[in-house]
Amino acid sequence: MTHLQVTGLTVRHPGSRASLAAVDGVSLEIPSGTTLGLVGESGSGKSSLAGAIVGLVPAQGGRVLIDGREARTRTVRDRRRLGRLVQVVLQDPDTALDPRMTARQTLVEAATVFRRLDRAARAARVTELLGLVGLDPRLADRLPRQLSGGQRQRVSLARALAVDPGLLIADEITSALDVSVQASVLNTIRELQRRLGLSVLFIGHNLPAVCHVSDTVAVMRHGRIVESAPTETILRTPQHPYTRALLASVPSLGTSPSEERTS
């Protein structure tokens, strides 16, 4: 339900050479209720871009418009206003949750950031959130180390959804997961998007996974977006040589080893 527009966003990391920008004048748009997939290799600037949108990484130039309003992150008040609209789920399921807080504590904390909830409402909200991401409510009182990687990633997803954001940024959320677990997390993302009308920025390096959930795919390399098109178009007629190289590198069970060797 949230429209994101990024224009000419530039991020330079302090210490690196001035000529090298992690994000180099990137412009992209996510119409409300759609999913944009962002693919690229590690170091291509995907995570810096995500961080810059939510204010975790300072941007050196460009604008981020959310529903037409400039996103600001200088003061806590600005950050809170942005947090209501945009939430982020990060890559590493090992550090994504506070190791000393149970899933319930984590979710209650997130659910009460903007709203006061009494005891009964809190319990109901935790059950609702866990249900939303397909987790058994009985897992609520477990600590992160008692949960599997996929379960932890779902709890962080539920935490992000606790404030009812309009835009969800998912930064490599399936990279550390097994294929079978990845499949169910991907299904959850699609399901959520359909049910809640979320706009999603789905970042990843696994092209098939990104394509599976995205309406539009943008390919990023060296801090720039080299190609951006609807998913079907990218898959059928990739324009940029780098996109073609990416597509060609995807392992597929359809090809036999002999074919691969000659290609």
């Binding site: 950050r79 506070d98 935490r159 098939p208 599976h212 990416l246």
Partner: protein
């Protein structure tokens, strides 16, 4: 607090507990029992030496020194604790603030901490004690202030670790306020090491505080603590050593108690984890050798002690590799595939026990070799390539040194010859020999993994075990590495055991695939049949859950419900039974036997999938 068992067993821990208990008892009871005697002047026995009535002698007003030393326990300890609490408390707040402040605030605080650290703590304490004025409050404040920079730096370092975690970033995006981030997310996660060092600091602070009192900057008469008693006794130490020694020994005793407590706590934190077990007995000789096999393993089982009990992450794995063959080992995390590889290379973590019926590498029975011969045989016959090239290379050594190490140690090759071979190995993996002089940080991830492969090639191994060698790399680089491994296999006829969770990747470039689930191999299948001819329901489900570029995006991906079994409670039947769509009653009771379909395709399942289901997949693609 519940102390771990290692703590309860150690004699030092008992001594520490006794010393602390005695100090607490004295601090509580001392003034009540001996307080009156300590303050009662007796002009008839001024400045006496030890006697039956006054075991430590008397002071200038004829007060009993033993009573005074015992009574001084309370003020000495309380003042030291107050100084530590104040100093550590403010230091920790200042230091951990850096994790939640904005960039400018963080830089400013860090700079301030650095500046303050430059001054020696004890000098600062003495200077401040003079500035604040001689007296109890002044001394405590001075010591507290002197302790702040040290604690601030420690807390800053620890908090920086938390600040980099994803959960703090997520909490920040949620819009939590700074004080809440600090109290809820930063402090609880760094409390443990800080408590330990505060305990140790209590001992040093006690000594420092006594020092200030000794110098006349601390407790002022008529009050007294150990330091002041020491100073008063020192005037006549040559005539009567005991009045000076007794308070000195008291200081030593208390300081030692705090130090030991810190050590014992730190030790118990470090020891937390399973206790080491007795070394494994020598395995019996292997079964009969089969000709022409690079690796022959039968019935490999690994036992691993965990806090919850002993588990068997690998149970009865058998596999064999022929020269030049590429075999994939797939399974989800925790299925035991990496432990299988480590067991083959004799690299299991400490405490693990391995048993097997047969383990032959290049025809030699590893059970029949002496440990030294076995190490040598493994080092030259087998190479391992690990998942993370960033940590697999020693960051401080040049590439050349790391490449030539193994051949120089095991083959006695000369330096010049080894360097020439290393240059060849680098060329083989399409890197320039000029890299011999570089260090790991100068290379990219893909280059490092090539160096690892080159290092593996140096000993001309018969078997290469690659454990998730491309998982940390990007897809385009992954493709280059798998191609490289294929070429090497063709050129050197080395066998390759390729371990990965990515079934598509394994299926694409291996000839045979072993599918592992919960510590056992459930299916061995030729790679070309993986896409549509797999017979085990788990293999089928795994293949189906891979997102395919050609798949219909409107439909959800097939998933496997439930999770892998708990390794602590192994079930008697098929491990996949609870999640299996084809399960029947006896699946839970009896482990399925192997069924051979042909020489290369076997499956451990009571009810393998029929072959006909294949047609659907073929028709779709």
């Amino acid at each position: 607090m519940c102390l771990p068992s290692g703590f309860r067993r150690s004699p030092i821990a008992w001594a520490t507990a006794f010393m602390l208990a005695s100090l607490v008892a004295l601090a509580v009871a001392g003034p009540m029992v001996w307080g009156a005697a300590a303050d009662r002047p007796d002009p008839s026995v001024v400045l006496r030496g030890p006697s039956a009535a006054h075991p430590f002698g008397t002071d200038g007003l004829g007060r009993d020194l033993l009573a005074r030393v015992l009574t001084a326990t309370r003020p000495s300890l309380l003042l030291a604790l107050a100084a530590v609490l104040l100093g550590a408390g403010s230091g920790i707040i200042v230091g951990s603030c850096t994790a939640v402040l904005g960039r400018r605030g963080r830089r400013l605080t860090a700079g301030m901490i650095n500046l303050l650290l430059a001054f020696p703590a004890l000098l600062v304490a003495m200077f401040l004690a003079v500035v604040f004025g001689a007296g109890t409050a002044g001394a405590v404040l001075a010591l507290a202030a002197a302790g702040v920079p040290g604690f601030a730096r420690l807390a800053q370092t620890l908090a920086a670790g938390v600040a980099g975690t994803d959960h703090l970033a997520a909490a920040r995006v949620l819009g939590l306020r700074r004080h809440r981030l600090l109290w809820r997310h930063v402090l609880p996660n760094i409390a443990e090491p800080l408590l330990l060092s505060a305990t140790t600091a209590a001992g040093t602070t006690l000594v420092a505080l006594s020092g200030l009192s000794f110098l006349g900057l601390g407790v002022q008469p008529p009050g007294y603590d150990w330091g002041l008693l020491l100073s008063q006794g020192l005037d006549r130490i040559y005539a009567e050593p005991l009045p000076a020694l007794a308070p000195g020994l008291a200081v030593l005793y208390a300081a030692l108690a705090f130090q030991l407590l810190g050590e014992a706590l730190a030790g118990s934190v470090a020891r937390r984890g399973p206790a080491p077990r007795a070394p494994a007995p020598t395995p019996p000789p292997s079964g009969p050798a089969e000709d022409g096999l690079v690796l022959q393993v039968e019935d490999l089982t690994v036992e691993l002690p965990t806090p919850g009990g002993t588990i068997q992450p690998v149970r009865g794995v058998s596999l064999s590799l022929r020269p030049g063959e590429a075999v994939g080992l797939v399974g989800e995390s925790g299925s035991g595939k990496t432990l299988t590889a480590l067991a083959l290379a004799d690299l299991l973590p400490h405490g693990a026990r391995v048993s097997r019926r047969t383990l032959r590498l290049l025809g030699a029975d590893l059970a029949a070799l002496t440990p030294k011969e076995r190490d040598r045989h493994l080092a030259t016959g087998l190479s391992m390539i690990f998942q993370n090239p960033a940590s697999a290379l020693n960051p401080s050594l040049r590439i050349g040194t790391q490449l030539t190490e193994a051949v120089r140690a095991h083959r006695g090759t000369s330096r010049a010859q080894a360097t020439a071979e290393a240059a060849d190995a680098l060329r083989r993996v399409a890197l320039s020999p000029a890299l011999l002089r570089s260090r790991p940080y100068q290379l990219s991830g893909g280059q490092r993994q090539r160096v690892m492969i080159a290092a593996g090639l140096m000993t001309r191994p018969g078997l290469i075990i690659a454990d998730e060698p491309t998982t940390a790399l990007d897809v385009t680089v992954q493709r280059q590495i798998t191609r490289l491994l294929t070429d090497i296999r063709r050129d050197t006829s080395a066998a390759l055991l390729f371990i990965s969770h990515d079934i598509a990747l394994v299926g694409e470039f291996c000839e045979r695939v072993l599918v592992m689930y919960a510590g056992t191999i459930v299916e061995a299948v030729p790679a070309d049949r993986l896409a549509d001819g797999a017979r085990h329901p788990y293999t089928r489900a795994l293949v189906a859950s891979v997102p395919d570029l050609a798949a219909d995006r409107g439909r959800p991906l097939p998933t496997i419900g439930g999770g892998p079994p708990d390794p602590l409670v192994p079930a008697p039947g098929c491990p996949f039974e609870p999640r299996c769509p084809r399960r029947q009653d006896h699946c839970a009771e009896q482990a399925p036997p192997w069924q051979d379909f042909d020489a290369t395709h076997r499956v451990a399942c009571w009810h393998p999938e029929p072959v006909t289901a294949v047609l659907k997949t073929v028709a779709r693609s």
